[in-house]
């Protein structure tokens, strides 16, 4: 280590760090959407996973167990979404919104019940940077890319894995077919129900990790409403990235960049209201959708339930 760290390197490193919740929550959304399950409860799932993940880490003194518990919570919410929409054929948006509110409610209730109101917040240790041998020694790049916490590496690996899984395996082809045209998939013996359960649960688990990342990396504690709209942004980001894993990864760099910029603006006193910057990702998403509308890559049956015996006149 030369000891020379320019602000630019710190800034780049911070963007990668900030990218993780966007990447994981959006990949989770994308995965469910690829089979037709449109999750809109990200904000709530992230909050409740952050809350429970934090509590479990606090009591078990293990961040690993905390992450696992957040995955389970996220997966459970995904399971609920899948059950209500595939088995009971209820409207996906209505169920998604209900799960959002349940998540928000539980996230504030549980810490109050278990810890109560304290003057100093209970703290857990935050995730440590893990330098990768050799690679982290590369000037500039090493510090930015190879000296990060484990979930930064994980988020990139998950994205690459999902790309390979969806586009380079026969299982991925079957999976995508259920979101494009479930009738076609069903007629070829592919179980639409199984695929939807699977992706809703795994997608929910990814969103869960995205939630617990916040107390584990940013604050060391859980505070009410700490997700601050990142869940909603994840939906926008999924559209921004055209429901494609690699594009989502790239898009999340942009979203993270704006988040970091908005912090900088707040402390610099430049006169630009930071709320304006927070609006930019949504604006960018709308612009991207306007211009790519013709070549829309949104799954054909996104948000629509499938009923084999439903007759169309």
């Amino acid at each position: 280590m030369t000891g020379i760290e320019t602000p630019l390197i710190l800034y780049a490193k911070l963007i990668l760090l900030t990218m993780v919740p966007f990447v994981l929550a959006s990949q989770g959304t994308m995965l469910g959407g690829r089979t037709g399950v449109f999750n809109v409860a990200q904000e709530g799932i992230m909050l409740v996973s952050a809350s429970i993940g934090f509590l479990v880490s606090f009591y078990s003194k293990s961040l690993t167990i905390g992450v696992i518990s957040a995955m389970l919570v996220g997966g459970l919410f995904g399971l609920a979404l899948a059950y209500f929409t595939t088995h009971l054929k209820m409207d996906q948006f209505v169920i998604g919104l209900a799960l959002f509110f349940i998540g928000v409610g539980l996230s504030t209730l549980l810490p109050k019940l278990m810890i109560g109101v304290t003057l100093t917040p209970p703290l857990i240790p935050t995730l440590k940077d893990i330098p990768i041998p050799l690679l982290s020694k590369i000037p500039f790049i090493g510090e930015i890319f190879f000296n990060q916490n484990i979930l930064v590496y994980g988020a990139v690996l998950v994205s690459v894995f999902l790309w390979w899984f969806l586009y380079k395996t026969s299982f991925g082809l079957s999976l995508r077919s259920t979101g494009e045209y479930p009738q076609a998939a069903d007629s070829l013996g592919i179980s639409v129900t199984t695929m939807r359960y699977l992706t809703a649960i795994v997608g929910g688990a990814l969103i869960g990790i995205a939630g617990v990342y916040l107390p584990m990396v940013y604050t060391g504690t859980f505070t009410d409403g700490m997700v601050k709209g990142r869940g909603w942004l994840a939906i926008a980001l999924t559209f921004f990235g055209g429901w494609k894993p690699i594009n989502i990864l790239i898009g999340s760099l942009f979203f993270a960049g704006i988040e970091v910029l908005s912090y900088k603006v707040q402390v610099s006193g430049s006169g630009i209201p930071y709320q304006f910057l927070l609006m930019l990702p949504y604006l960018a998403t709308i612009l991207v959708m306007v211009f790519t509308f013709k070549r829309s890559t949104i799954p054909g049956f996104l948000g629509q339930n499938y009923d084999r015996e439903k007759r169309s006149l």
Binding site: L173, A184, R308
Partner: protein
């Protein structure tokens, strides 16, 4: 040909909520035969085969294959038993390539890299064997209907189908493509396949099938060998005793030479001049459409679905505004007129998609019958609807048009497809009109209902009604029209007079060849 059946379905019953779709239906398929399953819409043909393919669960009944009782509860089971089905609406994923569509859901040799060369070679062998050439690497949404059909058949063959079910396979095909399909079917049967051919078109079963079973209202009517049967028996089987075949439009029109050309008057009713409709992208949706339609004339617009038929109808109704050209009704420019005024000034419209554009499933039958006229006398005065008049008129229309419903206040959604169409027709004809724009007016109707629609159109023609009949059913156009124009990619590629009607010529034009002048 072995006469022992390889497949037997016995006593099949299926209900949807309260309506009985199939009642004690039996069906037998022999080895190496093409078995036609004939019947009007709602007869239960598709339901029966969907049960065989595992898409629907039967309420009761037995299925046995090779003399062994089997249980099929999903398409996966059916595929395992070597039963394949080609659905009327292709079950294809338009963003996938042909190759991906064919191998979807099967074991893939290189399943962790999606290198599909092994599969492509297998498929090419099938293509050669059954004469079904398709480029495998094209995105399937870019292919014409006839080619997409071949892909559906290849999908079934690739999964090792020995019994192949084809549901209305000739919908959307040109006559040439139909001939090619029939040739391929013969090759398949010669190579040990057995085929079930579902259709409502009598001529098709007679030209390709070895045996024919007729269904009506969810019941078996008759099963006959092709060479033992005459046309009359099948017609009677399909329509039952309710219909007067001798005096029907479908079975008697043209036989006496009378086609109604004498009713065509000199005055032009509808005149389109150089009508253009540019789409948001690059391809124009309508290009240089010009024609004159006279009073008392029926002009048919033929073409494969999706070539601009809907845009044409909507431009005439004012639902879509053209980007160029003129539309005149009785020599008056109507371009500036909004749709409701056009309807008031004498245009009647039967839209293509009855559920989307023409019917309110949650409103009552009476509401539906006056929809669009509800703001005018006699139904409305001073902004209030006069329900007594509405119900009285509705009751009369229900009687005249033979709509099967419990009464004017019955909920629209309770009606069957055929009866919904009768409501739309009653509405279109319930007030004086001089132009009728009818888009696929008989799609999904049973034969008596179809005949009813035809006879109404012909009756109004005598009174001077000009009809623009936009239809994807070529037989319907050939039966009714004085002239047929063919629409291809938003352009009229030619117009033929009745004396020059020729199925194959129209088929050529439907695939884009211009008429020989």
């Amino acid at each position: 040909m072995a006469d022992t059946p390889i497949l037997v379905m016995k006593g099949i019953r299926k209900t949807f909520d309260k309506s009985v779709a199939l009642d004690d239906v039996s069906f037998e398929l022999n080895a190496r035969e093409i078995h036609g399953l004939l019947g009007g819409n709602g007869a239960g043909k598709t339901t029966l085969m969907n049960i065989l393919y595992g898409l629907y669960k039967k309420d009761s009944g037995e299925i046995s294959l090779h003399e062994k009782k089997i249980n099929i509860s999903s398409p996966r089971d059916a595929l395992h038993k070597h039963i394949g089905m080609v659905h009327q609406h292709f079950l294809q994923i338009t963003s996938f390539t042909v190759l991906e569509n064919i191998v979807l859901g099967t074991e893939i040799h290189n399943k962790y890299s999606m290198d599909l060369s092994v599969e492509a070679t297998k498929i090419q062998a099938l293509q050669n064997r059954f004469n079904l050439a398709v480029d495998l690497n094209i995105s399937i949404g870019d292919l014409p209907m006839g080619t997409r059909q071949k892909v559906e058949i290849l999908k079934a063959l690739y999964r090792g189908a020995e019994i192949l079910i084809l549901d209305e396979p000739t919908t959307n095909l040109t006559p040439q493509e139909v001939d090619d399909l029939f040739k391929s079917l013969r090759v398949m049967v010669d190579q040990d396949l057995s085929i079930v051919f579902i259709t409502h078109k009598l001529r098709e079963v007679l030209s390709v099938c070895d045996r024919i079973s007729v269904l009506r209202n969810g019941r078996n009517v008759v099963t006959l060998k092709r060479d033992e049967a005459n046309e009359e028996a099948f017609v009677r089987g399909m329509v039952g005793d309710e219909m007067d075949i001798q005096n029907s439009v479908i079975f008697s029109r043209g036989k006496s030479g009378q086609i109604g050309a004498e009713h065509i008057r000199a005055e032009v009713c509808l005149h389109l001049d150089q009508v253009q409709l540019a789409s948001q992208g690059s391809v124009p949706r309508l290009k240089d459409i010009s024609f004159k339609l006279r009073h008392g004339e029926i002009l048919g617009i033929a073409g494969v679905a999706g070539n601009g038929q809907r845009d044409l109808a909507e431009v005439i109704l004012g639902i879509t505004l053209p980007t160029g050209g003129k539309v005149e009704l009785d020599a008056k420019d109507i371009l500036a007129m909004p749709t409701n005024q056009r309807l008031e000034s004498g245009i009647a419209y039967i839209p293509e998609d009855r559920l989307l554009d023409g019917f309110l499933p949650k409103a009552s039958v009476a509401h539906n019958l006056i929809l669009g006229f509800h703001r005018k006398a006699p139904y409305s005065s001073g902004g209030f609807i006069n329900w007594n008049t509405v119900h009285r008129t509705a009751a009369e229309l229900i009687k005249t048009y033979n709509i099967k419903t419990s009464g004017p206040s019955d909920v629209g959604g309770n009606l069957s497809g055929g009866n919904i169409q009768r409501v739309l027709i009653a509405r279109a004809f319930s007030k004086p009109a001089n132009l009728l724009v009818a888009h696929n007016p008989t799609r999904g109707l049973d034969i008596p209902s179809m005949d009813f629609v035809y006879s109404r159109i012909l009756e109004e023609k005598k009174k001077g009604l000009a009809t623009l009949l936009i239809s994807e059913d070529l037989d319907e156009l050939l039966l009714l029209c004085d002239r047929i124009a063919v629409l291809y990619r938003g352009e009229l590629v030619g117009t033929l007079d009745r004396s020059k009607f020729e199925k194959y010529e129209i088929g050529r034009m439907m695939s884009g060849y211009r008429a020989e002048e």
